[in-house]
């Protein structure tokens, strides 16, 4: 109840804010006056609408979303675990920190191609490729959070012989929440950037695939429409899932 009451008043602002953004875009497009290269919302929205009602978009959108979801789950799980392990033990960090740096800086293209070549051209390879690209990023962010954590609380937990799971749940995770939130948000964005390449290189559907095609056809309006469809989904995820989660996780901050 209380939560919802705090969430809803934001809605008008969010809508107004997004409308302002669209308006800005319209002005920019109008000022550039080049409907081919800089199509305004009046061109892109109908394109998107057509794709939506014709049902063309749904299979691609859902294919991409499936990949994003699976990769996101995998990457967050492994990334958080690795980050906590490395941040929690100086020894582990000294030994495996360099591996993380290497993993972080291996180009996405290389991971993707190698996944396709070794796992095969299938959905698993695509998901593995995306996850592998994201894991180091999440790990690095969580490691940073671990290093910065308050050890007094851990001491307290140790003294009271709290179990490892209780410690994780009540001490570590809440303390790392800002880093987990940040990596979830930044991570979704990263995944999206990589899924695009993954779909370009080895899949025959998905929004990324569409965007590349439209780009090859030099159909900028199509590119934007597809991108917009995904952005819309991500906005929904943000306000339907991440924002309430973040709010829940920081309830205690209210003064």
């Amino acid at each position: 109840m209380r939560n919802r009451a705090r969430l809803w008043p934001n809605l008008p602002v969010v809508v107004a804010s997004l409308m302002a953004l669209v308006l800005l875009w319209a002005c920019l497009a109008w000022w550039l006056a080049d409907p081919q290269l800089a199509p305004g919302p009046q061109i892109v929205f109908p394109t998107l609408w057509t794709a939506l009602v014709s049902g063309d978009l749904w299979p691609d959108l859902s294919a991409t979303l499936t990949r994003v979801t699976a990769a996101f789950g995998l990457a967050m799980g492994f990334g958080v675990a690795i980050g906590i392990a490395l941040g929690g033990s100086r020894r582990a960090d000294r030994w495996f920190g360099p591996w993380l740096t290497v993993a972080l800086n291996i180009p996405a293209l290389v991971t993707i191609v190698l996944c396709y070549l070794w796992i095969g051209l299938n959905e698993w390879a695509a998901i593995a490729a995306v996850s592998l690209n994201k894991i180091p990023m999440v790990a690095v962010m969580l490691r940073e959070g671990m290093v910065a954590r308050d050890t007094d609380l851990s001491d307290m937990a140790r003294l009271h012989c709290m179990g490892w799971f209780a410690r994780l749940r009540h001490i570590l995770i809440p303390q790392l929440a800002p880093h987990i939130m940040a990596s979830a948000r930044a991570g979704l964005a990263l995944i999206w950037k990589i899924v695009l390449v993954v779909e370009f290189l080895g899949r025959s559907n998905g929004i990324g695939f569409r965007i590349h095609l439209d780009f090859q056809m030099f159909d900028i309006a199509g590119v934007l429409a597809n991108a917009l469809a995904f952005v819309a989904v991500m906005l929904a995820v943000e306000w339907g899932l991440l924002a309430p989660l973040a709010q829940r996780a920081s309830r205690w901050r209210q003064r």
Binding site: L117, G120, L121, E199, G202, S204, N205, M217, F218
Partner: protein, 300 residues
């Protein structure tokens, strides 16, 4: 009804699709004893991986790639699809008359530094005018649509693009300064040598020769239909992404001009071309293949 399936990866909306769509539409695949399945890809890099990964049976690429693979011991075969080449385009009002006039100017190139057209034009400039095209101009490599835009907006003074973009650019009012075909002839290369083709793995050709010959026949039949029946091309207009009648006409003409002559490929001419490319493009382009490896072109 359970004919063997042949999976071909093709750029969705690309020119190859025109032929494949025609094959499927007129049932030319079944007539020739197989079922064609088109696997859409979003780029050339993707199709390479798909062929190597065994996700498709055939892709469309140039035979240099095949030569290069064969030189490293990987068995692939090439079936001619098109000999279409573009040219170097400049703005209608450009003062340039020959390649040498581009001294100090910017050239946009879609295929990268080892693009075949670019290499041929370099050799041609050297031979015709003693002009070092690569050294005396500034090159901008980029994605085809970006090169098209840059050329149309005058950001680059000349542009070498894939032929279907070239056709659109010409339809938009650019003119051809030098055609790659002419340049090739001047260099003593045969303009009849097809560059692009279907590439199949050797295993497939050995184990199911009827599939390969079926593809050859179906391709030929489709080419014939498209050349002779106007409605066959008109049918394709929606997927051709032509914005105007002029573009449609240019694309159609360009495509038909690229249809290679029937019959086996002139291997001597191809070998000559490969040697020239090896000299210009270096190992980057041809890998270990300094002369045409045996069996590059599928003969049946």
């Amino acid at each position: 009804a359970d004919l063997p399936v042949l999976k071909v990866a093709a750029l969705e909306g690309g020119t190859v699709n025109w032929e494949l769509d025609t094959i499927k539409h007129y049932g030319l695949d079944r007539e020739n004893g197989f079922t064609l399945e088109v696997v859409p890809v979003a780029g050339k890099s993707g199709s390479d991986i798909m062929l190597q990964g065994g996700a498709v049976d055939a892709i469309v690429t140039d035979w240099f790639w095949v030569a290069r693979m064969r030189a490293t011991g990987e068995d692939y075969r090439f079936i001619p699809y098109s000999k279409a080449v573009g040219g170097l385009l400049v703005a209608q009002d450009s003062p340039a008359k020959t390649l040498a006039d581009l001294d100090g100017k910017k050239i946009g190139i879609a295929g990268g530094p080892v693009d075949k057209s670019w290499l041929i034009l370099r050799a041609y400039a050297e031979q015709a005018d003693g002009f070092d095209l690569a050294g005396k101009t500034e090159q901008v490599f980029g994605a085809p649509p970006l090169i098209m835009k840059a050329a149309l907006s005058g950001e680059v003074d000349g542009a070498i693009n894939f032929w279907h973009f070239g056709a659109k650019m010409e339809a938009a009012g650019m003119r051809e300064l030098v055609s790659v075909g002419d340049a090739a002839s001047a260099l003593g290369l045969s303009p009849e040598t097809p560059l692009l083709g279907y590439v199949l793995s050797g295993d497939l050709v050995e184990s199911k020769p009827e599939l390969a010959s079926g593809l050859v026949a179906a391709s030929r039949a489709a080419k014939g239909k498209l050349a002779t029946e106007d409605e066959a091309f008109a049918r394709l207009r929606p997927i051709m992404n032509a914005k105007s009648n002029a573009q449609f006409a240019a694309l159609k003409a360009g495509w038909l001009a690229g249809v290679p002559a029937p019959g086996p490929v002139d291997e001597a001419a191809a070998d000559k071309m490969l040697r020239l490319m090896a000299k210009l493009g270096g190992e980057k382009l041809v890998g270990g293949a300094t002369s045409l490896p045996e069996g590059t072109f599928l003969t049946n």
